[in-house]
């Protein structure tokens, strides 16, 4: 009974559901962006998620990341798989406890239709966007400008070229605003998740009926 309620068929028209069901999405980083995007995509019935993070759950993560207090000290990838399976027991998830770099990204995300960039540092963001655009053929949905609180309407989703989308306000960083809030980072994460769903349905899986 409960399972039926959770099945995506109840929420999506069957063609949309079919397109999402045959899609593969990579999630690079399971922080405030990645953990929340993973949950949204699992609820949307994405065929397979490839999730990557080398870190463990810390107390300071719990104000914004999709983990729970009884998961402290454990690998984020393991905890995320548990949490996603509680949302959607049918979800197919491939986890990698690895530090992503320009060499392993094309291999780990080889089958992905789209990758969500969910890193916190600028060099890491630069590295994965450059790697995906120069060495791969899939789409990448990145984030820039999500720190602080309020100013919801300054957050936008922008198309930058053929294969790159960037969500965020482009300005507020963890350098200038010292706070990260679940609400504001959550808005950017949902911009990314929503952009990914739109890309999959309207562009990448356009031919799937």
């Amino acid at each position: 009974m409960i399972l039926t309620l959770l099945l995506p068929e109840r929420f999506f028209m069957s063609t949309i559901n079919e397109k999402l069901g045959c899609s593969i999405v990579g999630i690079a980083g399971l922080g405030g962006l990645g953990s929340n995007i993973a949950a949204a995509l699992a609820r949307s019935g994405i065929g397979k998620l490839i999730i990557c993070d080398f870190d463990k759950v810390e107390e300071s993560n719990l104000n914004r990341q999709y983990f729970f207090i009884d998961q402290l000290g454990r690998f984020k990838v393991d905890c995320m798989i548990e949490n996603l399976c509680r949302i959607n027991p049918q979800a197919k998830i491939e986890g990698h406890k690895i530090k992503l770099d320009s060499e392993n990204i094309p291999k780990i995300f080889a089958g992905a239709d789209c990758i969500a960039e969910c890193f916190d540092s600028v060099p890491a963001k630069q590295m994965i966007v450059e790697t995906v655009l120069s060495k791969m053929n899939c789409m990448i949905v990145s984030a820039s400008g999500l720190a602080g609180y309020g100013k919801s309407n300054e957050i936008q989703t922008r198309r930058v070229g053929k294969r790159l989308i960037i969500a965020g306000d482009g300005q507020r960083s963890t350098d200038t605003c010292k706070t990260l809030t679940a609400a504001r980072i959550g808005i950017v994460a949902m911009h990314q998740a929503n952009a990914i769903i739109e890309l999959l349905v309207d562009e990448i899986k356009k031919e799937v009926v």
Partner: protein, 70 residues
């Protein structure tokens, strides 16, 4: 005068002030090369090639910048 289209906006440079490479342009603009993905005439230029990629009159360059947080 030499012209470069930077993020869709036309910039003019006197011949002797035209940045020779992507690295020179970023230096002129005060942009940290570690925070940028560059696309020159639709082609992604890897960061390691910024200082060896020449710029020429009439080219279009997109400089995609990131701020920390995630």
């Amino acid at each position: 005068m030499s012209i470069l289209k930077i993020n869709g906006l036309v910039s003019s440079f006197p011949e002797d002030k035209m940045p020779a490479t992507i690295a020179d342009l970023l230096l002129n603009l005060g942009i940290d090369s570690a925070a940028v993905v560059a696309e020159l005439d639709g082609q992604i230029i890897e960061r390691v090639k910024f200082s060896t990629t020449s710029l020429h009159h009439g080219q279009s360059i997109e400089l995609i910048r990131f701020v920390p947080g995630g």
